[in-house]
Symmetry: C2
Subunit: 284 residues, 2 copies
Amino acid sequence: MKTPRAERLVDMTHYLIERPRTLVPLTFFANRYSSAKSSISEDLTILKKTLKERGVGLLETIPGAAGGAKFYPYILEREADEFVNDMLKQVNDETRVLPGGYVYLSDLLGQPAILRQVGRLIATEYLNTKIEAVMTAATKGVPLAAAVAEQLNVPFVIVRSGENKVTEGPTVSVNYLTGSSKHVEKMELSRRSLPTGLNILIVDDFMKAGGTINGMKTLAKEFESDVKGVAVFAEGRANERQVNDFTSLLHVDTNLDSGEVIKVQLGNYKENIFRGRENKIVRN
Amino acid sequence: MKTPRAERLVDMTHYLIERPRTLVPLTFFANRYSSAKSSISEDLTILKKTLKERGVGLLETIPGAAGGAKFYPYILEREADEFVNDMLKQVNDETRVLPGGYVYLSDLLGQPAILRQVGRLIATEYLNTKIEAVMTAATKGVPLAAAVAEQLNVPFVIVRSGENKVTEGPTVSVNYLTGSSKHVEKMELSRRSLPTGLNILIVDDFMKAGGTINGMKTLAKEFESDVKGVAVFAEGRANERQVNDFTSLLHVDTNLDSGEVIKVQLGNYKENIFRGRENKIVRN
């Protein structure tokens, strides 16, 4: 029995949103709903229009008998600004300042709604770029990496620093120079967690001089990966940076000469995501 | 201008699915679509029917002028069995066995589609229970905890073991007995990451004797929390368990007396999720 349009629309929305960047063939939906492909095409036109109007994402529709639909989640600049400004207000709190120029963020990065918005934001920068895996450093980068990977619908891998853990099997390790204290540390990634030759996006919660991120870049090279970008929730103050090309939502200064304990500003996301590259789609 | 029903259905599906267990008032939708509440009520009836028929979740509709809708994601037993049996096949691989009875799972627990299904499964057990936070142990439990927290729409917190990290601020720490090697370790949780007095669900990737989970229970007590349940992706072999009441998807034995290197069976999820409690909704 043919599924009515109203029910098709509800199910298709759910189905496509749960599978970002995946081509779902017209024939799949036609069989699922015992409906003609022409009806499914009309449904997809409604979906495309609504998801665009509500700023949810781009539904790419591929016409023809072999065609289908692919959903690319994004965030529009207006919604991104509103979200990042809300984060700015929440981070701008003296009690968040920790020794060594670090800032307490775990409460924010443990909230599903915040993680989803960060994921949508970062995914928007790579709307036209094929990313095949997300890489992060244990432990605090993990929730962010998982959120970005979800929006891009690719796997994520966790790099571990310090002493060997016994529960990962054979690993590849590299040495790296920590930015601030300038000593040599070791980080490693399980050999089987990442195939070689992938396009990679590096994600982390906080970056100061960029030592950890630089280490991940070196490690990615060992896996013959191509690092397509670096994204962090917040960048801290750094006299010398080891990493120059990155996107940040927030810029956080602590213990300034002026006597201020914390000063939070917007990071470079507006420039990188909404002004840069070819993201005409999300300029509004 | 009034939004047509077709567009309302697409947007409402997206809106409700992104906000599990949150009451969205009828008036909110009525304003959003410049539509009568009676039309919105009819829309919600279509959504409810479709989400149920497709096994996506329960849309609770609260009637009346002050009413609205709340979406509870779940998974039906049939889909859960299919998923867990697929996991069983993938885990049943000799090369996954690591020293000390551990099993390599990071490749699976780094895939968004797998994490979503685990999240739906665990959330199904707590369909009728108010959970206010998810707790896990660094590092490998984090992706699972984030996935479960997303389906329950609650924050998650990460307990760290071993030496003090400087980036978390004031912490509460407890000592615990590791299950296998029986030595005393320390684990800690940042004081500000968890309010006191919450209903908590403990989630981890792998449990052997249960030392880590027992430690988390002790830590939860320090936060005056009520541990409502424990869920793990896989349970390993243990001669003596410190934790008895838990839900597992898989049971993994390694290096058996029979000479087998690995033996994977279903965990106790069927009993705990689909036979137990009052989950009549998801029995099919």
